[in-house]
């Protein structure tokens, strides 16, 4: 096949074909276009203000490494006036996080940014290695997810920083949209698509400047700029990247590459249609959703499990629906009650929107809708050497799917694996 010239400069040999529009670009033009598009995302959403201190949630992986590199470049090129630093979490997993933290330490030098590492051991008195030694590999991701959610906020608070950026990309957002669509979870759907996910209950906002960037382009950007990143799988969930939501997204991309951004766009459009009262009543903060997918490894497994569960629920619903014809028919002339009636019938799948008042945890002072926040509840169980089932009851209704559903998924994964 004869080499194709770059679509932009018409001179150099094209080395990449863009998933979003099939444009063939050379290395230099691609890097330029990629950076410019992130810049456009940042300016069109007024993401930062001059002089803002911003912490980059850094794992040493491709996404956060590319984010750090691009933000440094743009900050200098366009004079954003940002004060950037790297914020990493040390879950305390030997042979996994210690290696990737070495990458982050090198990045800190390469990008001349200060680095803050927040450890689970100092925050909670437990490393993940110790948690796993106590609770086993089954269900340990729940602890990690809950702990991580607070750890980023606490690390930022320690630095006196009110804005944390994460490396979530378009594929991640598309995956979240698909999941929430399948779950019929409108509040999460609307929150998950927005670039900034702040909450009235927290003064630390989170944003994802790479939300329109294809994972493929992120990897290619890292490759062509020869960025130093670390790819690994958490040793406690080694087969994680087989998640079926992820697989679905990647399969769609293969057939029609623009699908990913189209799903993101659809998610945003649907979010617009979500009534304000539902958005407002959204429980907990949107960062919750992200923290469950925050680590690449948990990503696939958790969401894959959720997907399987959702597929089963959908099948059950369908089966139930066919049996419900007579119940539903009389209500058809009156649209509103019918909706309600359906909700009642499918009680188990339809989530009722709860009004939650945000307060602070009585023990640690972290934002919580319960008297005791989830991290403290989990810690109580760990410290009392109690099995996790007791904790599940203790967590109660807060964040229904991230607690009890996650527990069930873990069981499922364990049984399946």
């Amino acid at each position: 096949m004869a080499p194709s010239p770059c679509f932009h400069c018409q001179t150099n040999r094209a080395v990449i074909i863009r998933p979003k529009n099939r444009e063939k670009l050379c290395r230099t033009c691609f890097i330029n276009v990629f950076e410019t598009e992130v810049h456009e995302t940042i300016t069109s959403t007024s993401l930062f203000y001059p002089g803002e201190r911003v912490a980059i949630g850094a794992s040493g992986g491709k996404d956060s490494t590319v984010l750090a590199s691009v933000l440094k470049t743009l900050n200098e090129r366009y004079n954003y006036g940002l004060d950037l630093c790297l914020l990493s979490i040390d879950e305390g997993i030997k042979g996994y996080r210690d290696d990737s933290l070495e990458t982050v330490k090198r990045n800190a030098e390469q990008y001349e940014m200060p680095l803050e590492i927040v450890g689970y051991d100092e925050l909670y008195g437990w490393t993940m290695d110790q948690v796993v030694a106590q609770v086993g590999k089954k269900g340990n991701c729940t602890y990690c997810g809950v702990f991580r959610r607070q750890a980023l906020d606490r690390g930022a608070a320690r630095l006196g920083i009110k804005h944390v950026v994460t490396g979530h990309n378009a594929d991640d957002v598309a995956e979240t949209v698909m999941m929430n669509l399948l779950r019929g979870d409108l509040p999460r759907l609307s929150r998950g698509t927005s670039i900034v996910t702040d909450s009235a209950a927290s003064d630390i906002k989170r944003s994802k400047p790479l939300k329109y960037a294809y994972e493929k382009e992120i990897v290619l950007y890292a490759h062509h700029k020869q960025l130093d990143y670390f790819s690994t799988e958490c040793i406690y969930s080694p087969e994680a990247f087989r998640g079926s939501a992820r697989t679905l997204i990647k399969d769609l991309e293969k057939i029609r590459p623009s699908s990913i951004l189209d799903i993101v766009k659809s998610g945003e459009d649907m979010a617009e249609l979500v009534p304000a009262e539902i958005k407002g009543k959204a429980c907990a903060r949107a960062a919750d959703d992200e923290s469950t997918g925050g680590c690449g490894s948990q990503n696939g497994r958790t969401r894959g499990g959720e997907m399987a569960e959702m597929e089963k629920k959908l099948a059950d619903d369908e089966a139930a629906e066919s049996r419900e014809v007579e119940i539903k028919l009389p209500a058809q002339s009156v649209p509103l009650p019918r909706k309600k009636q359906n909700k009642g019938i499918k009680g188990s799948t339809q989530k009722t929107i709860k009004t939650q008042t945000m307060g602070t945890c009585e023990r640690c002072g972290y934002i919580s809708s319960q008297k005791i926040c989830k991290a403290c509840t989990l810690l109580e169980g760990l410290n009392k050497n109690r099995p996790k089932t007791a904790i599940e009851v203790g967590v109660g209704l807060e964040d229904e799917e991230s607690s009890s559903t996650l527990m069930r998924q873990m069981e499922r994964v364990q049984l399946g694996g």
């Binding site: 004869a2 990449i16 992986g61 799988e233």
Partner: protein, 120 residues
């Protein structure tokens, strides 16, 4: 698929020796499936039994049979092709620009497989 023999006349020569050497690299976490080695030197027959040149498809089959020690073949290949989410670069260019799995290997080609599926 046309080959650029007129641009690169040397490419035909090593066939006389009956073998063709290429460099294969695995990154983005894929090295874990290949004995934790990033770079592998692979020597293939220059002509296959049907008279054709080895393609990326042939290379994939070869890698799974001869180089990959990990049992989890499905993490690298699905339905006789590269698993979606794994990028392939042929001499640093996206394989989509080169004809994907039908690309016919040239001597000293550098083939990179990068996983996008792994986390940090």
């Amino acid at each position: 698929m046309t080959t650029d023999t007129e641009i690169n006349p040397e490419s035909a020569r090593p066939e006389a020796h009956g073998s063709l050497s290429v460099t294969v690299e695995f990154t983005g976490g894929l090295e874990m499936l290949f004995s934790n080695e990033r770079k592998h030197s692979v020597t293939l027959p220059a002509r296959l039994s049907d008279g054709g040149r080895p393609s990326i498809s042939f290379l994939l089959e070869y890698l799974v049979k001869n180089v990959m020690k990990d049992e989890r073949k499905e993490l690298f290949m699905l339905e006789d092709n590269v698993r979606p989410g794994i990028l392939v670069l042929i001499n640093d260019a996206d394989w989509e620009l080169e004809g994907e799995e039908k690309y016919e290997l040239q001597p000293a080609d550098n083939i990179v497989f990068v996983s996008t599926l792994h986390g940090g």
